[in-house]
Symmetry: C2
């Protein structure tokens, strides 16, 4: 059997600890090509660069069998460039992350990590976004490794089923408390309640920092938020058809002549 | 009855012809507050600014009863700032656009115009994204006006039903050919086939421009692409729960112990 070709991407930038950890794991599964942003691109969602020039340089951040490219674009740009200009054939798998911080529930729509995975799924490549609920720069990615290996092994064993796009989140590591396992779940109905931090600059002009509190309105037990707060790994299958099928009929009544 | 409060936003920037046209129309429906980007923010998707400072200045672009604010952030930033710092109460409606160019089918995930509308829907405000399939700076927005008025009138008459988020696209105006009406539809399965334009800069380094062809793989007649190519206005109700419910069960088999 031919070795799988695996594209690794992220949104925290090519030097982030999370992607370095992910590359090391993926080297055990196949031929790894890394195409990742040259600087942090968090919360860039599915943005692409249509007004600026893209550059993509071969780099060598850590030793290893992987090939690495550093790109000045967004995570979605990285995937588009990789698929069209860097890789010699369509990859068998795209993995994105490991993100420093949660991409559960509504974060999915803001996340550059997930945006990159969706970009792969769009063209029929199995794609997985991995995120750890720990923002600290010395976050411990060791415990997530076991589950990353398990999920990737399962996806590969299923012959890279097309159209699979997974949003995987890991709870923060807690000493002496093991992760309980994997839960397949739906995106919780949760959201950020913003509180802009309003300040005055030295010239007397107002400016704002976006801050906020994450609030989970969804008390059911089949959600990613429930899984994570109960110390499970959450796996949400995601799709990119945003049509709200449930309201097609009521709208027909609303808008037709 | 109290006058509706309407927030107007876009991604082409506060001076774009499309938003100026939309503001003029919306002034007939209620009290209009404009919070829009100070420069083009096309293809910014649902990106938000978490690493940079936001500014929002009162401006006066055109005379009229509207109040206007120019913001240095993304379309989604504009909505968050408007809701939290500019508006004195929750608006009754958010309208985004009129975008210069299509936001039909897969463009929905890249679009800043739609990103802004979703940001409103997320907090329970009815939101509509309007786009015209004409990229030219002198695009003719006159014909879309009739349908914008009709759709907004219908939404208002339905007492601002919550959780409604519409992606509305107008075909390009064709002389002596009237729009045929409104079609409620689903997002077509269509995508961009990228072709990066590879060039060499004066220093001998490679760079790329993102280009591509839009290809519709979906030949059914219930899609937005069908409606638009048959000279109808397409209206797709959209939602922000990306869970692929259809694959929850098969994944349970795939990943469980």
């Amino acid at each position: 059997m031919k070795k799988p070709l695996i594209l690794v991407v992220n949104d925290d930038g090519i030097k982030a600890k999370g992607i370095r950890h992910l590359i090391k794991i993926m080297n055990d599964f196949g031929d790894v090509i890394v195409v990742a942003p040259n600087k942090p691109q968090s919360a860039m969602s599915h943005a692409i660069s249509i007004e600026k020039v893209l550059r993509c340089d071969k780099v060598n951040i850590n030793n290893g069998p992987q090939q690495e490219y550093s790109c000045n674009g967004t995570p979605a740009d990285c995937v588009k460039l990789a698929l069209n200009k860097i890789l010699l054939r369509k990859p068998d798998l795209i993995v994105s992350g490991i993100n420093h911080g949660s991409n559960s529930s509504i974060n999915v729509i803001y996340s550059g990590t997930v945006g990159a995975a969706i970009e792969g799924a769009l063209v029929g490549i199995p794609a997985i976004a991995f995120s750890l609920l720990d923002y600290s720069s010395d976050a411990n990615f060791d415990e997530s490794e076991y589950y990353i290996r398990k999920i990737v092994t399962n996806i590969i064993a299923n012959q890279f089923e097309n159209n699979i796009c997974l949003n995987v989140n890991f709870p923060k590591s807690i000493k002496n408390k093991k992760l309980k396992g994997v839960k397949i779940c739906r995106q919780a109905n949760a959201n950020w309640e913003e509180e802009f931090d309003e300040r005055i600059d030295p010239k007397g002009n107002k400016y704002y920092w976006l801050t906020g509190n994450f609030v989970n309105y969804d008390k059911k037990t089949d959600t990613d938020e429930w899984a994570l707060s109960n110390h499970y790994v959450s796996v949400v299958p995601i799709n990119f058809d945003l049509t709200d099928y449930s309201s097609l009929n009521s709208l027909n009544l609303l808008l037709d002549e």
